[in-house]
């Protein structure tokens, strides 16, 4: 029994779950058609019941591909609620635009009349001005040029994009937005890093979304370093430091010769030390930001930082060498003490209208709970349709 166990263990220890792709079982076209019909009916009935589901016309094929693959009804309802909200926002924007356009003719007429009566030259931006207009393209060219210079002379930062299998679709899309912001904020800084995106899988949900944010990402002249290889093959192992929140060693000083690696994942769901496990497997040095030493962490929000916040912290650390200034990029809501946060919350409530004012000012005895605003599209209903009779 012992030898058997050991042999199995050997093979098991070397394999990892992280490399396996999540396999979706293949279904036949008739089965898919049948399932699609039922799901469409489900969406339609939920919409008729008053739940937040967009109209069936607005759900495209790529939506249905995603919906059919979803494991449960509650996951589907959450996606519908998200799409409904987007549609509702677009709708209200359209209405506002129309209202604004209604008075546009009169405004233009008024300005024209004023100009006709006025014999003097009009100075100002857009009229007569001594300033040259600097177009966005010029600024972009200038920033790209600095990035290319940074590729030659600046320290390097690696964003490790190998965590696609551990993220679900929503997390992957959030990660893509953060990766885009990393690139943008790095480019806009006075002294940019040489940013490398490693372990990139261009078919993944994250990278597809990143390509939609930056369409020219893969062009050869665009100053973005995309590698499908691992960073251990590009940089020597001795220089690499993996930044992970799960280890116990703080990063003391910034070393410009080291290549710092940040795991490009959104992992608010799991409590597993994924980045630490990867660093241990590759035998790399690890470090974490000295957040506890320099900041008073408030209750409530967790210690997770987004990727662009990390890059900003490292940029400032490189420029100033001072932790206090560079950790200013950590959002204040995480850092403020809980008592201060409650006080600022009361301040905001005082400015709203539909609130009992006597309880606000009596700070010591205030047992105050924030009121949910009545959903405007349900205000006319006498009872709450969405929870009556059926489960919400």
């Amino acid at each position: 029994m012992l030898e058997n166990e050991k042999e199995d263990l050997e093979s098991f220890l070397s394999a990892t779950n992280t490399d396996m792709k999540r396999e979706t079982p293949a279904i036949s076209p008739e089965e898919r058609e049948r399932r699609l019909k039922v799901l469409q009916l489900e969406a339609e009935v939920a919409r008729q019941e008053g739940k937040r589901v967009p109209t069936l016309d607005s759900l495209k094929d790529h939506h249905w591909d995603q919906i059919i693959a979803m494991p449960s009804r509650s996951a589907r309802m959450k996606l519908y609620s998200f799409l409904w909200k987007n549609a509702a926002i677009a709708e209200s924007r359209k209405i506002k635009k129309q209202e604004k356009a209604a008075g546009a003719q009169e405004r233009i007429e008024a300005i024209r009349k004023e100009r006709a009566e006025n014999p003097h030259i009009v100075y100002g931006l857009g009229n007569v001005s001594m300033f040259l207009r600097v177009y966005d393209a010029t600024i972009n060219h200038w920033m790209n040029h600095r990035l290319i210079r940074a590729m030659m002379f600046s320290p390097k930062i690696v964003l490790d994009c190998s965590y696609d299998n551990q993220m679900d679709r929503r997390e992957a899309e959030n990660a893509a937005k953060q990766l885009m912001l990393c690139f943008a904020e790095n480019r806009a800084h006075d002294d940019p890093f040489d940013l490398h995106y490693c372990n990139v899988n261009l078919e993944s949900a994250c990278m597809k979304r990143l390509q939609s944010y930056i369409p020219t990402m893969l062009n050869p002249e665009f100053p973005m370093n995309i590698h499908s290889k691992c960073f251990t093959e590009i940089f020597p192992k001795d220089n690499i430091v993996y930044l992970t929140p799960d280890c116990q060693k703080d990063l003391e000083t910034y070393n410009a010769d080291d290549v710092y690696v940040i795991g490009a994942m959104v992992d608010k769901r799991h409590a597993e030390p994924l980045s630490l496990a990867k660093a241990k497997r590759l035998g790399l040095r690890v470090a974490r930001l000295p957040l506890d030493r320099y900041l008073q962490w408030g209750s409530g929000s967790g210690k997770s930082l987004t990727l662009n916040q990390m890059v900003n912290i490292l940029l400032d650390l490189k420029t100033t060498g001072d932790w206090v200034t560079s950790l200013k990029h950590v959002p204040r809501r995480k850092v403020i003490d809980s008592k201060e946060r409650l006080a600022s919350f009361y301040e905001k409530q005082k400015n709203r209208v539909n609130v009992r004012v006597d309880k606000i000012f009596d700070d010591d005895n205030a047992v105050f709970k924030p009121m949910n605003s009545v959903r405007s599209h349900k205000k006319y209903l006498k009872f709450n349709l969405s929870t009556w009779g059926s489960k919400k």
């Binding site: 098991f12 049948r34 039922v38 019941e49 799960d246 241990k280």
Partner: protein, 439 residues
């Protein structure tokens, strides 16, 4: 119904969701009128059947919401049995809800078809989420039918109690009151009294000892074999430890095992919450002493930073027990469980940790076996008195679900119905001692 006529007069046909809600209204009316076949008028019942015809003609496969609304409606009519196929239709997109199953089960019981009722009940318990509890209505309806019924009272009650045992359900006080009234009606057959179970497992009423919990050999083997793969290694061995450390540990256990008890060193040391290494080491020493005095062979698990603790304490531990120190970054709980299970079914563990994440990793079938093993074998340190004596909480050795000893059932219950079951760390306080006399 009035609303339907109003809509038809407007020229609009009511949409599917409206018809669904209408069925719910009929269902509510049926229940408020006493839930019998005559609760709804013939006109209303015909309306329900009409809606069913409309919906099935319109769509070949109905979605889960419409199916559930239809079930709620069909229950009120005489043709409720044809609604059972709707359950299969729901299963295409999701598992049927407790509401759907409960309506059918309650109707089956009230129509004297208890075998259908119980088979649906078992299907419900197998398929719904593990932590959810069935509604009291099911048991209350069944008990009313048993008391009115022609069949044998005791065998009818047996059927229900066996299901309680099989699914380890904790019923509410309402059901217990119903059982008590049944017992009062038939004093020559049943005798029901409230009782307390002391920590040794003895009933205060009938003085019988409750059945001892045992884990079968098969189950224990299953648990042992999966622990290494699922908990110690998990998906990625580096998340909890490293391959060299796991191999070292396995060799260590082979060399120095088997053990009588495995102690989680850090959990024990931090029990009182002190931070000084001296007081931490003292806690550990007192626990090891407790076992050494009984000549038991123990394993103490810790982390490498414990080498910095006061030398004589660590030396005492090393002299009187085996000690394994894991990396500072590794998790020690999986090692604890592995060493305990490897040493055999009689080994105990000493820790206050509830081990929820390890239970989850084992999968739902093994989680249950793991919890049983854990309840039988986990000692936890309560505190250390000023005189140096340690107080230990022993594991409960008796069954905590409804079960039968000779001809007496002991049934635990809770004072209020809750939708989710607790994770069974507390022993139920209230028990009913039910004696079934054989005629």
């Amino acid at each position: 119904m009035v609303q339907c006529q109003a809509n038809a007069e407007n020229g609009r046909q009511p949409n599917d969701a409206t018809l669904g809600y209408l069925l719910r209204i009929y269902n509510a009316k049926y229940h408020s009128n006493g839930s019998s076949p005559e609760s709804l008028s013939d006109g209303d019942q015909a309306d329900v059947l009409n809606i069913w015809k409309i919906l099935t003609k319109k769509h070949k496969i109905l979605d889960s919401t419409l199916c559930e609304n239809l079930i709620a409606g069909l229950i009120t009519t005489r043709r409720w049995r044809e609604g059972l196929e709707l359950l299969d239709m729901i299963k295409i997109t999701r598992t049927p809800s407790i509401f759907a199953y409960t309506e059918f089960i309650v109707k089956a019981f009230s129509m004297k078809d208890s075998s259908l009722g119980w088979s649906l009940f078992e299907e419900m318990m197998e398929t719904i989420d593990d932590s959810r509890q069935p509604n009291c209505k099911i048991f209350l309806t069944y008990l009313t039918e048993v008391s009115d019924g022609v069949q044998d009272i005791t065998s009818g009650l047996e059927k229900m109690l066996q299901r309680l045992q099989k699914y380890e359900l904790l019923i509410s006080v309402k059901v217990i009151d119903s059982i008590k009234t049944l017992a009062a009606a038939y004093p020559n057959l049943l005798q029901a009294t409230d009782c307390h179970i002391n920590f040794k497992g003895k009933c205060s009423n009938c003085q019988l000892s409750l059945q001892a919990k045992t884990l079968s050999n098969v189950d224990f083997e299953k648990l042992r074999n999966s622990l290494l793969k699922k908990v110690v290694v998990g998906g990625d061995v580096f998340q909890k430890s490293s391959p060299t450390e796991v191999n070292d540990f396995l060799n260590f256990v082979d060399r120095t095992g088997p053990y009588d008890c495995v102690i989680d060193g850090l959990n024990v040391a931090y029990s009182k919450g002190k931070k000084k290494p001296q007081s931490l080491a003292d806690m550990l020493v007192s626990v090891v002493k407790h076992f050494a005095e009984k000549n038991k062979h123990v394993l103490v698990l810790g982390r490498k930073h414990m080498n910095k603790w006061p030398k004589n304490s660590i030396q005492y531990v090393k002299d009187n027990a085996s000690m394994f120190l894991a990396d500072n970054l590794s998790q020690d709980d999986p090692f604890l469980l592995y060493a305990a299970l490897k040493s055999g079914p009689k080994t105990d563990i000493f820790s206050r940790d509830l081990m929820r994440q390890h239970a989850y990793l084992l999968g739902s079938e093994l989680k249950h076996i793991f919890r049983q093993w854990q309840q039988q074998h986990q000692y936890s340190l309560v505190t250390k008195t000023a005189s140096g004596r340690i107080l230990i909480k022993e594991p409960t050795r008796h069954l905590v679900c409804a079960h039968k000893i000779k001809s007496t059932w002991h049934i635990p219950y809770k004072m209020q119905y809750t939708l989710h079951s607790s994770d069974s760390f507390e022993i139920p306080e209230h028990w009913l001692c039910l004696n079934m006399k054989k005629i």
